[in-house]
Symmetry: D2
Subunit: 101 residues, 4 copies
């Protein structure tokens, strides 16, 4: 099952600067060959369900190995069976509606 | 890796009444023997990472089989390595702080 | 506009133990007279849109005053115009579906 | 209080195609002069707390006026008092960490 995901990893108990942890998660996605896009409040990623969630688990494991004691993560995800859809389609579809007005 | 999760399944394109779909997801969790607790805006569940996410995937698959064309799901999750924690501990810990005031 | 909300406040950069901060937010909701219910991964609250979001802002302000440098918060919310609904209705509706099976 | 927000509006009970509703919300943000950025799973926006949440409420009201019976929305937000931060800073900070490796 194909899934489009947005996730935000929030390391807790390790200071206010979180970007180096986010960078580790970006590298996990890159190493696993998943299509992904960083944005200001999270990362979009798409792929097969099991591969995407294994990547997020891997991210958690690496951060804990780096000494992060606690991690809070948010995930928003979508699946659909009416048609195939990719991340780029979603932005393009809204932009087309805006251009048509 | 143990994980405590809150998730909300939002079937899209299938009418405004969603409770029968939520009930199917509750049954999935029950059948899989995962500790879970329904609340007004989602369901709390805890267990091993792979088991919890397999259950949520199973829920998506069943709803799609029932004809739901599109599903949006939110997940909030926590992992920690500083100590063992369960769902009931989290509520009890806040309630103790409130009682101590 | 009536809104049913689930929110989770995650103080960042202030240690791994967060329950005393959650307790402060519970007191804010209580003092403002909003219907609310703590659960393992957040708090459900309902009321008028502006009142609910003013309460969450108040919670942020108090935690910052306590010295929390950074706060990440998740909110899930629902509004509907087809019928009136309250938090207790949502749980009861799913439980009825489960009982009918 | 300055806030950086990511939000996703999910109209329920109105078909599977949601992009025209997302476009309305983009126009609300634009009309209100808020800094915003659409991505594959939501929209990032920043500004004063009350202005940002008034904009999201406005989006809900407009969609209900268009006939959407029910709306589920996710919001992730961050506030901080240790330093000023904007949306573009957050992406740049992670990218710098990636470039330094």
């Amino acid at each position: 099952m194909h899934v489009i995901v947005d996730f935000t990893v929030v390391p807790v108990g390790t200071g206010v600067s979180l970007s180096r942890y986010i960078a580790v998660c970006e590298q996990v996605l890159e190493a696993r060959g998943l299509t992904h896009q960083l944005h200001a409040n999270g990362t979009n990623v798409e792929g097969e369900w099991d591969e995407v969630f294994a990547a997020i688990r891997d991210c958690h494991e690496r951060l804990h190995q780096m000494g992060v004691p606690r991690i809070h993560t948010d995930i928003k995800l979508g699946t659909r069976i009416d048609r195939e859809q990719h991340m780029t389609d979603k932005v393009a579809s809204v932009q087309k509606k805006l251009a048509d007005r």
